[in-house]
Amino acid sequence: MASGPSTYTPSNGLMRWLDARLPIVRFANDNLLTFPTPKNLNYSYTFGAILLYCLVIQIVTGIVLAMHFVPNAALAFNSVEYIMRDVNYGWLLRYIHMNGASFFFIAVYVHILRGLYYGSYKDPREVLWILGVIIFLLMMATGFLGYTLPWSQMSLWGANVITNLLGALLGTDFTQWLWGGFSVDNPTLQRFFSLHYLLPFVILGVSVLHIWALHHVGNSNPTGIDPKGPQDTVPLMPYYTAKYFFVITVFTIFFAFVVFYAPNLFGHVDHYVEGNPLKTPAHIAPEWYLGAFYAMLRAMDFNFLFIDSKLLGVLTMLGAIGILFIVPWLDTSKVRSANYRPVYWWCFWIFVADYAMLSWAGLQPAGVILLQTGVGADGAPTGFSITHLSQIGTAYYFAFFIIIMPLLGLFETPRALPESIAQAVLGKKRGGGAAAPAGAAAAPESRV
């Protein structure tokens, strides 16, 4: 699994005996201790370790919360309040689990954007990237299912809106099958609880494949060029394990601050009102981490050809996730890292801002007018609304993948790449900047 030949030598007869039967110590040695890692990885490369830490936190707190939670439409809301008030440390466990989801997504967004910036998805890491997109999808499903469990107004109506969306795509028979009834009700809650408990373990399984793929091909790195030998790498232990412990500590400080001092920072008041199928809250908002996708869904308020606006919204939202799967083939540039791609660098940071803007827009009521230009026939203000902003954001989101990525590879002139990782690192230390290597590209990449 680990790239390179194994360096493990069993130290005594017992270890030799075990190694011949189950080479588990060899496996741990090759993957956790001596695994060769590029020596120039910065802090953005530590988020994989942070994500594993988040997954463990969510699974451990989730298992103990399930010992007190009751997945029944009549009892669920009160059982959550019971956890908060009566269960020993229940408030702490629930706040860790609830905010853990938000921090999980903060970390996964940094991790994914890191991949987009440094071109981590490019040959030979396409499968590694695709497995990551699958994990991201599973995380969104798990987050949504967890959101419905407290059976609050937000839970109930969020479940209503999302399942109705799937109904727009797949029909009424499908939604009734999904609900186990004629509306979102007790059978829906019970199956959502079952799946919410299952999916994290599926995530764990896909994560094993993700890390396997990583350790098979090795880490990418900020220069985007492959390590050429031992002078370019350091063993994982202790260099990066120490770095992981440090960043996880810093991450935990922020996490603990929110848990203890602002536990409802990411929440919504309607999450503390029991679900009522006869009364819709005035404003339904998803969790912040799904805001961008929700904004894209709502942005489609027009019909396109034979597709009506409702279906178009669903297709846009699913397409926004689906397009991530083909990113390795959309990006035509051979240069991996945005550090050496001046135009892509700008497009990337605009994309980050665009995604942040969409995430914000998705949490706002749809009709809000941002720039009033006039008054409609019914006296309501008209002008540039959240919907218009979301449409612009959606257009750039797709343009980044479908237009910018394929075309930049053809027209962009990349900067000169260093000859090796060691040279890039040492060159900087001497204060000489990037030394111009021989044969550096000074023209658009040649296509053969």
């Binding site: 209503n160 099958w177 509306s183 059978p187 199928p277 006869l278 606006s309």
Partner: protein, 157 residues
């Protein structure tokens, strides 16, 4: 070829109970009709009953309201349907009170047009027949299957 087909049938037959268990159960199906006693409803009043877990409105319309609703020309409607096709008796409107946009519950809006409904979520406006007048909702409020068992008793479903 044959063994592949046999294996395919075997997999499908085995998988079906695991898929079908998610469909509405017999107990859920048994509660799929609701009977409503109409005697306590006064003219102009509307009550909400639950039918299949969905809020369903039973509204006793006054003759003036009916006249006003039926005066709206079909050409003004997004989802054209005359009021006569949506009710069995002019006096009684029975509709499912779920917005056809994204499933919110509209409010009775007497100040609005034709004594209709306003969905606060995304601003869809319905008339007193539950027909969509304005806003993002694509269709009129759904009319459930119902039958008058007597002059004062309706069975929905």
């Amino acid at each position: 070829m044959f063994s592949a087909a046999a294996a395919g049938v075997g997999v499908a037959v085995t998988a079906w109970p695991f898929i079908d268990q998610m469909n509405p159960s017999a107990a859920t199906q048994a509660l799929s009709t609701t009977e409503v006693d109409l005697t306590p409803i006064t003219p102009g009043q509307q009550i909400t009953v639950m039918w299949q877990g969905k809020p369903t409105w039973v509204r006793r319309r006054t003759p003036e309201e009916v006249a006003q609703i039926r005066a709206i020309p079909n050409s003004e409607l997004k989802d054209p349907q005359p009021d006569q096709e949506r009710v069995q008796k002019a006096e009684w409107l029975v509709v499912i009170g779920i917005c056809t946009h994204l499933g919110c519950i509209p409010n009775r809006d007497n100040s609005g047009e034709q004594g209709g409904y306003l969905c606060a979520c995304h601003g869809s406006v319905y008339d007193g027949s539950g027909r969509i007048m304005r806003g993002p909702a694509p269709l009129n409020l759904a009319v459930p299957p119902y039958a008058f068992l007597s002059d004062t008793l309706v069975r929905i479903g």
